[in-house]
Symmetry: C2
Subunit: 256 residues, 2 copies
C-alpha cells in the first residue's frame, strides 16, 4: 500500500527540503519506489536532485491545475527508484488561483489517486507557510514528518502546526497522523540544542524520532552539486543520520 | 523624514527576524526613534523583544483590518526609543481575508500615514513568503533590506525576489528601492560561505553591505531571554556586526 507523507513546518529554514531529499534517497536506496513532489515555489528540492530549470515544464503547478497527469509530471532522478515532480516559480501564483477553485484543498489528492500502484512512498516538500499548497499536501497525506531545528524560535510555531494538523484531520482527512518530529541541525557544542531536545522529548515523547540529524557542512554543500548528501558523501555524519532516520521510519511503519 | 524598510526574503530561516530585531535595536541605541512591525504570524520578532502573548491584543492583524490605530497597536519595548506592533497567529488568516478586500495591498501604507512624525525608522519583519503581507510591506516601504544566508539554497531565490521588488515598484510604489543585501550566518570555517560571498558581491556589487554577520551562538540564545542580542551580549561578534551594520546603513542614508 502506498504511504504518503508531508514534510512540513511553517518555520523557515528548519531542514524541510534537506530532510525530504535525503530521507527519500535513503528509502530508495533500500529498494522502495519513491516519489518526491516539490510544493515550494523556490524549487529547492528539485535543485537538490539536480533537475535543471529547463526540464521543469510539467511540474507541480501543472499537476494542481490538471494541465498534465502525474505520470507526465514525474521525472526520473539520478537516484534509482526515485522520481520527482519538480517545481518552478509559477507555483507562487497557485495560492491566489486556488482560492476560488472547486475542491481547492483536494487537488493533489485527486492527482495521486490514479497512481496508487506505482510508488511505495510519496514525500511532499512543503513551503514555509500553512497556505493552500501545504493544505493540499496535508489533505493528500497519511502522515506528517516535522523537521524541527534545534533553535529557540523554531519551538514557537510547533504547537500551532500540531493544531493545524488536527484541524485538517477533523475537516478533510481523518487518516492524517503526526508521523514524527525529527530534530535537525543539532550542534553538540552549544547548550541550546540540548535544551531544545530536552523540551521537545518531554512534550512530544515517542512522537520524536530517536535519530537526531547533526549540523554537518557536507549536507549543506551537496545541493550545489545537484546531489543528495547521501550520494555526495555517504560517510559523513549527516548522511549516516538520514540513513538511520529511514531505518527508524521503516521500523515504525512495520509496527504501524 | 521617516524612512520605512522591509526586511524580506521568501527563503526561510535566513535571518530576517534576527536582522530586524538587532538592526532596530542598534538604530534605537544611537537615538533614532524606531518602530518594528511584526508581519509574521509566528510572531518571532515580538518574542525577540520579550512581548508576552497576553500583551498582543492590538497587533498587526488589528492594524491591517482597521480595528485599531497605529498608536493603539504600538507597544514600548524594554529598549528605549523602540516600539513594536506585535503579531499573533490571527495574522495567518489575513492572507485569505485580504484577497477580496479593497485596496488590499495598501492597508499598511494607509495605517502609517497618520504617524509620519513620530518615528525616524520603521522596520517590517516579513514572513518567508511573497504573499499579501509581504506585498503590504513592500508597498509601504522606501527600501528593502534582504538578509541572505551564506548557503547554496539561499542563492536560488534572490533573483526572483529582486524581480518582485521591481514589479512592485512599477505597479504600486515608485519610491521602492533595494536598500541592500546583508550576508548572514557567515561561517569562516567553511568554504561555502566564502563562495556565496564571492558570488553575491560579483553579482550585486555595492548593493551588498560591507558588514557581514557571522554565525554566533550568542545571537541564537538571545531570543530565549526575550532580548535582542545587542542587549543580551553586546560584546559578542554577532552584536558587534549588527552595530556595524547600523552604522553602515546610516552612512548610506546620509549619502542618500
Ligand atoms: N544537517 C544540516 N547540517 C548543515 N546544514 C544543513 C543541515 N540541514 C539543512 N542545512 C542547510 O540549512 C539551510 C536550511 O535548510 P532547508 O533549506 O532544507 O530548510 P527548509 O525548511 O526547507 O527551508 P524553507 O523554509 O526555505 O523551505 C539550507 O541551506 C541547508 O543546506
Ligand atoms: N548570526 C547568527 N548566528 C547564529 N544563529 C543565528 C544568526 N542569525 C540567526 N540565527 C538563528 O537562525 C535561525 C533563523 O533565523 P531567523 O529566525 O532570524 O530567520 P528568519 O529569516 O526570520 O526565519 P523565517 O523565515 O522563519 O521568518 C534562528 O533560530 C536564529 O536564532
Ligand atoms: Mg525548503
Ligand atoms: Mg522570521
Amino acid at each position: 500500500k502506498m504511504r504518503v507523507f508531508s514534510v512540513a513546518n511553517q518555520k523557515g529554514g528548519v531542514g524541510k527540503t534537506t530532510t525530504t531529499v535525503n530521507l527519500a534517497t535513503s528509502l530508495a536506496a533500500v529498494g522502495k519506489k519513491v516519489l518526491v513532489i516539490d510544493l515550494d515555489p523556490q524549487g529547492n528540492a528539485s535543485t537538490g536532485f539536480g533537475i535543471n530549470r529547463a526540464d521543469r515544464d510539467n511540474g507541480a503547478y501543472e499537476l494542481l491545475f490538471k494541465e498534465c497527469t502525474l505520470d507526465e509530471a514525474a521525472i526520473q532522478t539520478k537516484v534509482p527508484n526515485l522520481s520527482i515532480v519538480a517545481s518552478t516559480v509559477d507555483l507562487s501564483g497557485a495560492e491566489i488561483e486556488l482560492i476560488d477553485a472547486k475542491k481547492r484543498e483536494a487537488r493533489l489528492k485527486q492527482a495521486l489517486e490514479k497512481s496508487k500502484e506505482k510508488y511505495d512512498y510519496v514525500l511532499f516538500d512543503c513551503p514555509p507557510s500553512l497556505n493552500l499548497l501545504t493544505l493540499n499536501a496535508l489533505v493528500a497525506s497519511d502522515g506528517v514528518i516535522v523537521p524541527l531545528q534545534c533553535e529557540f524560535y523554531a519551538l514557537e510555531g510547533v504547537s500551532h502546526l500540531i493544531k493545524t494538523i488536527e484541524r485538517v484531520k477533523a475537516s478533510f482527512n481523518p487518516d492524517l497522523e503526526l508521523q514524527g518530529i525529527v530534530l535537525t541541525m543539532y550542534d553538540a557544542r552549544n547548550n541550546l540544542s540540548q535544551q531544545v531536545e530536552d523540551d521537545v522529548r518531554a512534550h512530544f515523547k515517542d512522537k520524536v524520532y530517536k535519530t537526531i540529524i547533526p549540523r554537518n557542512v557536507r549536507v549543506s554543500e551537496a545541493p550545489s552539486f545537484g546531489l543528495p548528501a547521501i550520494v555526495y558523501d555517504m560517510r559523513c555524519r549527516g548522511s549516516q543520520a538520514y540513513i538511520q532516520l529511514a531505518k527508524e521510519l521503516l521500523k515504525r511503519e512495520r509496527e504501524f
